[in-house]
């Protein structure tokens, strides 16, 4: 700004100065010349008069620094000169002014010196005796005049430059100051110059646009945050140099961190070589899937490379918890293995005994025992298959009719069913509590109570007690079956509801049962949206409490 103003000031000043100089020196020069010429002419005529009267004596009396007088005879020989020795001077007949004077009475010429800085003017006049008197004067040419004023001119230029610097500074400051004081946050409220109002209105428009874009960006970022922070899966975004860009809360949880710094290396989050190798593979192939175990949980890790313009721009890492899936897969595998094993055992004995019978190898007195065993095993098989069918029905979530059921009569009914079994072990069964109605599926509810009571009797000791208690709270209908039997060690609590799971493998064989009872109970309770809880101390007893919402 300052520079520009300075340049334009200088651009005006210099030509003006130059033009002034040229015009003034031109005018002055021509005026000087005129005056000088007039002076010369009057001097010459004076001298001519003098010479006419007194001859060369007059001339020798004249001593002037300004003029040089030369007296030339009509043939060109120099008779007298005020400055030089006559003998040194050559013939002047060829000089232009002399020639003119001889011819016409007066002559005039001017010659430049070798350096051009001086000009010599000559005037000649023919006297009455035929001789010629010449006057000459040296005078500075325009050029030397200019050379003479060079110094003051340069000084003036210098002053002009300095002044223009100062003025340019002042002006630019004055122009810029209101511009600097513009309130760009609210451009329309300024009144600096009319000239910049289009700029201000444009800034105003852009302000609006920017704030709108900011808003939409912020909203998008918020949306992204909302979505990713509520995701079950861990999501990590990396740039092409494996620098963290975004880590959602689930991922932070997985890597046991509270926060992350955007711009940190991925290594600060996790430095296991599984993930490092996976990232390297994703960089090469564009995609990689791997598995990771952290804090006894299993995760599937999907890494995808994001390309933009055929260059890797970053990576997306998705971590999904597959612990449940893996354990479900494991229990399915175990279930299949268990089912085939459980089905095979009774069949094996049926085949064995029936083979003996069909070969006629059985002694007649053994036949009743054999057939009884075959009958027992076949019944066991059927009850096992029944249990499996029921379980698979519950698994499938088949819709079943529900009705209002009174729990007290149901429990009484089940006690009657189990009374013979109880009396075998001399176990006493008691019911306490109020009669409560619950909406549920009759067969499933009786299944729950039957299995719980059956277990309470089965895993009891001689002369033990089983107590059924029924009550209700504001939200739930509850019943509990407790015994003072052998109890269940703590480490089995989490697994006894699994299919075919048995606390004591050898014991269950003698006590019978399919190993599916509690599994059915669990599913039946789940069908009623209820909860089941277990309290058990080994050698003291077990209490199973079921609560079903009203």
């Amino acid at each position: 700004m300052t520079k520009r103003i300075f340049r334009s000031i200088l651009l005006v000043v210099i030509p003006v100065l130059l033009a002034g100089l040229i015009i003034i020196s031109g005018v002055m020069y021509s005026y000087l010349t005129e005056v000088q010429e007039a002076q010369m002419l009057s001097e010459l005529s004076l001298a001519a008069a003098g010479v006419e009267q007194k001859g060369t004596d007059y001339l020798s009396a004249v001593r002037s620094k300004d003029f040089r007088l030369t007296y030339v005879s009509s043939d060109g020989t120099v008779i007298f000169d005020t400055e030089s020795q006559v003998s040194n001077m050559d013939n002047h007949a060829n000089r232009e002014e002399i020639k003119e004077a001889l011819l016409g009475g007066s002559g005039k010429s001017s010659r430049y010196s070798a350096t051009l800085t001086e000009q010599t003017l000559y005037y000649a006049k023919k006297l009455s005796n035929g001789n010629v008197l010449r006057i000459s004067i040296d005078r500075a040419s325009v050029l030397s005049l200019l050379l003479g004023v060079l110094q003051p001119i340069a000084f003036i230029f210098l002053v002009a430059i300095i002044l223009s610097v100062i003025i340019a500074n002042r002006i630019s400051k004055k122009i810029v100051m209101p511009l600097n004081e513009l309130d760009l946050d609210e451009p329309m409220k300024n009144d600096a110059y009319d000239e910049i109002s289009p700029l201000l209105s444009r800034i105003h428009r852009q302000h609006k646009q920017i704030s709108m874009q900011e808003e939409s960006l912020r909203r998008k970022a918020e949306e992204f945050d909302q979505i990713t922070s509520n995701m079950q899966e861990g999501l990590i975004l990396l740039d092409s140099k494996n620098t963290l860009m975004s880590v959602n809360s689930a991922a932070l949880r997985i890597f046991d961190r509270f926060c992350f710094n955007p711009g940190d290396s991925f290594l600060t989050l996790d430095r296991s070589h599984e993930l490092r190798d996976a990232l390297a593979q994703a960089e090469k192939d564009g995609y990689c899937e791997t598995f990771l175990s952290r804090d006894s949980k299993e995760y599937r890790v999907n890494i995808s490379r994001i390309d933009s313009d055929d260059k890797p721009a970053g990576y997306v890492i998705l971590l999904s918890d597959i612990t449940d899936k893996i354990s479900a897969e494991r229990s399915r595998r175990e279930f299949t293995a268990n089912v085939s094993h459980e089905l095979k055992t009774p069949l094996q004995s049926i085949i064995g005994y029936s083979e003996l019978l069909s070969n006629g190898m059985a002694k007649p007195q053994d036949i009743p025992t054999f057939t009884a065993t075959i009958y027992k095993e076949a019944t066991r098989l059927v009850s096992l298959i029944d249990d499996i069918i029921r379980l698979s029905q519950l698994d499938e979530g088949v819709q079943m009719q529900t009705e209002d059921i009174s729990l007290m009569p149901l429990a009484q009914d089940i006690i009657n069913q189990l009374s013979s079994k109880a009396s075998e072990k001399n176990v006493s069964i008691t019911i306490e509590g109020e009669n409560v109605d619950v909406r549920g599926q009759f067969r499933l509810l009786s299944e729950i109570l039957f299995n719980l009571c059956d277990n309470a009797i089965k895993y009891n000791r001689q002369n033990g007690n089983v107590a059924i208690k029924i009550w209700q709270t504001d939200q739930d209908v509850c019943f509990a079956v407790s015994d003072n039997g052998i109890g269940i060690p703590k480490e089995h609590h989490s697994r006894i509801f699994e299919r075919f799971y048995r606390v004591d493998k050898s014991h269950s064989r003698q006590s019978g049962g399919t190993g599916l009872g509690l599994s059915i109970v669990k599913h039946a309770v789940a069908f009623h949206n209820g909860k089941i809880s277990l309290e058990s101390v080994p050698d003291e007893g077990t209490t199973v409490t079921v609560s079903i919402p009203k």
């Binding site: 290396s265 290594l267 600060t268 430095r271 296991s272 070589h273 490092r276």
Partner: protein, 219 residues
């Protein structure tokens, strides 16, 4: 100029994390080989140790180059000098993990390690190494301090292992060689704990500028 220096520092940081994670891997593998008495697993420790040695040389030369070319001051200087000290300790951890693996490969197959003590000690040592590297990664002085404090746990385990081995030898003198092997392993684990403490101290130094030794001198 500065940004290039920052990038170099960043790379140094990453390299140290990698080296730390290799140490964790080596000692975890050695401990697993010990608890399963598996010489195949033990053999896998050797290549990791070689990699650790290679990284030590690389990081060392990088650090020297940085010191020479960038002439760092203040925090950067601390970071680099701490790195130079830390890699020495990490390299020792790698060596000791390999030593453990070597001893494991000589333990006869039928000798099943029945004492849980040495496994717990290995676990404690691994945790110290992991925590010291974590403290460096997160620049967490509290975690570094907790590593320094937990050295006593590993030392305590060492005493316990020693006394249990003494009773093993008195009960069953034939197991003397096995007992000595286990004692050596316990000693190595104890040393690994000490190195983890050293690393943690240097982490503290790189964060706070105060190293334990200088503190002691000044007091």
């Amino acid at each position: 100029m500065r940004s290039r220096f920052d990038e170099q520092l960043d790379n140094l940081f990453k390299d140290l994390i990698m080296m730390g994670s290799l140490c964790e891997e080596a000692i975890a593998l050695a401990a697993k080989a010990l608890s399963k008495n598996d010489s195949k697993l033990a053999a896998k420790v050797h290549p990791i140790d070689e990699e650790i040695d290679r990284m030590e040389k690389e990081i060392e030369s990088n650090c020297l180059k940085l010191l020479l070319q960038q002439q760092p001051v203040a925090r950067d200087l601390r970071q680099i000098s701490a790195a130079l000290k830390m890699i020495t300790d990490m390299e020792r951890i790698g060596d000791q993990a390999e030593d453990i693996a070597e001893i494991v490969s000589f333990i006869p197959k039928d000798k099943k390690n029945d004492s849980l003590l040495i496994e717990q000690m290995a676990k404690a040592a691994i945790k110290m190494v992991t925590d010291s590297v974590d403290a460096y990664v997160r620049r967490d002085p509290m975690l570094a301090q907790s590593v320094i404090d937990s050295d006593d746990t590993v030392d305590h385990y060492f005493d316990q292992v020693k006394s249990s081995l003494i009773s093993l030898i008195t009960e069953n003198p034939d197991d003397g060689e096995y007992a000595l092997d286990i004692l050596m392993i316990a000693k190595y684990l104890e040393r690994i704990g000490d190195h983890a403490v050293n690393i943690a101290e240097w982490v503290l130094f790189s964060i706070t500028g105060i190293h334990k030794t200088t503190e002691e001198h000044s007091v």
